[in-house]
């Protein structure tokens, strides 16, 4: 093995995060998750696996849920990102967040921002999803506390609230 080259490569990019534009010089190895958490201080997206296998880092990239841990930030310059921090405004919860609170849609909370983002995307596309559609849309988010029953109930409630 060994490192032929140890100097990181950097690129200049722009990124719109929660409506705010950022000009960033990024190491090519940085993932979107790294930039959100480490550079922008947005720690809502979590690192549960770093391999796209758990959904704890789910954010919306141009409105589609993606795994931020598997997105090289150098490849998404100019694109629009939304994170859980961008949902609530002025201290009031987004309807999806409120539904999760009212229905106890989480336990340890580590998966919660990811579920909230997947749910937000689902309801933006389909305001009255069936239970099967809810499950399909959330199939890429693992909750190890297995609070799935309350999560489904939360999304049903948000579906009505929207």
């Amino acid at each position: 093995m060994g490192y032929a080259e140890v100097t990181p490569y950097t690129l200049d990019i722009t990124l719109e995060v929660n409506g705010q534009s950022h000009d960033l010089e990024v190491d090519t190895r940085w993932t979107l998750l790294h930039v959100l958490r480490g550079e922008l201080g947005l720690t809502g997206a979590k690192r549960g696996c770093d391999r796209g296998e758990c959904g704890a880092c789910t954010v919306l990239l141009d409105d589609l849920p993606v795994n931020a841990c598997m997105t090289l930030v150098a490849t998404i310059s100019g694109r629009r990102v939304r994170t859980v921090e961008g949902l609530s405004s002025l201290g009031s919860l987004h309807p999806v967040q409120q539904a999760f609170l009212d229905n106890d849609g989480g336990q340890c909370g580590f998966c919660t921002p990811g579920f909230v983002m997947s749910t937000t995307s689902l309801l933006e596309k389909n305001s009255s999803p069936s239970d099967d559609e809810i499950r399909s849309a959330l199939a890429g988010n693992i909750c190890r506390c297995n609070a799935y029953g309350r999560i489904i109930e939360s999304v049903r409630s948000a579906r009505r609230a929207e």
Partner: protein
Amino acid sequence: MKPFQVLRPTTLDAATDALSGSGIDASILAGGTDILGEVKEGTASPAALVDITGLQGLSEIQISQKDGASIGSLVALAQIETDLGIQEHYPALSQSAASVATPQIRNVGTLGGNLCQRPRCWYYRSPLFNCLKKGGDTCYAVQGLNKYHAIFGGDGCHIVHPSDTAVALTALNASIETFGDRGLRQTDISQFFVGPETNILSETALAPGEIVTRVVLPPAAGARSIYLKAKERQAYDFALVSVAASVTVEDSTITGARLALGGVAPVPYALPEVAAAMVGTPVSDVSPRDLGQLAVRDARPMTDNTYKMRLSSNLVARAVATLLK
């Protein structure tokens, strides 16, 4: 992760050049869901990643009754899953795309990437085992745990090909269009995937620098198709065994059939003998169970994967029975 460049070409020529012309070890990055995992694990350590998502013209789906379908390699799996034309004419492809991984991955994972993904063998993916596929001299699955490994064609290396769409496209008789140093070419899907006996280090016939540009499908012409996938978990699981089948029936007689198994061999495993046994047979004479048995006649299971014979056989029978219902 060792440092790498990220190159973002906007033309195919530039992309090919970046991949093979510069003399540096470069890999293609599209959705990134597979290559980035390999880079993080150290299974791959390219000096450059060539991001091809800026290439024009590779993101379209075109379908016509007369000409068949053309699907750009950068089309996301989520688009294939939900495209009404594909659902109508090539349901096996739509079903196979829907069965991949998770919504998040299908949103970014591309058709080309799904075809070109590397194997999931746990010995190959672990840095602790320098296996045949990484240039070593042992297939650790033989003496180790091989429940997910091949029951066909494991000459030396016993990986199974991980792609769902590749299995469906095999049954749908697809061609793979690629662009490389010699320009555009089309390869029959049966020639596109290669086993370890041909090239231990790669699962495809792609030349260095060559890029998958489109998948071309012949007209469905009344054929019905299906993709069935057995897995241990409903989301994010590779196939224990999958089957794709495409069958044409005219006047209650089978006039065309193509079938393939996934999860059983280093390549999507076509079943020409099963197809041959079906073509020309009146629908009422077809025995799905017998066809299922025929499908696994040549299987050579390992210590932990005998169950794949029964599973393959049952899935083939179920696919045939469902299509002829």
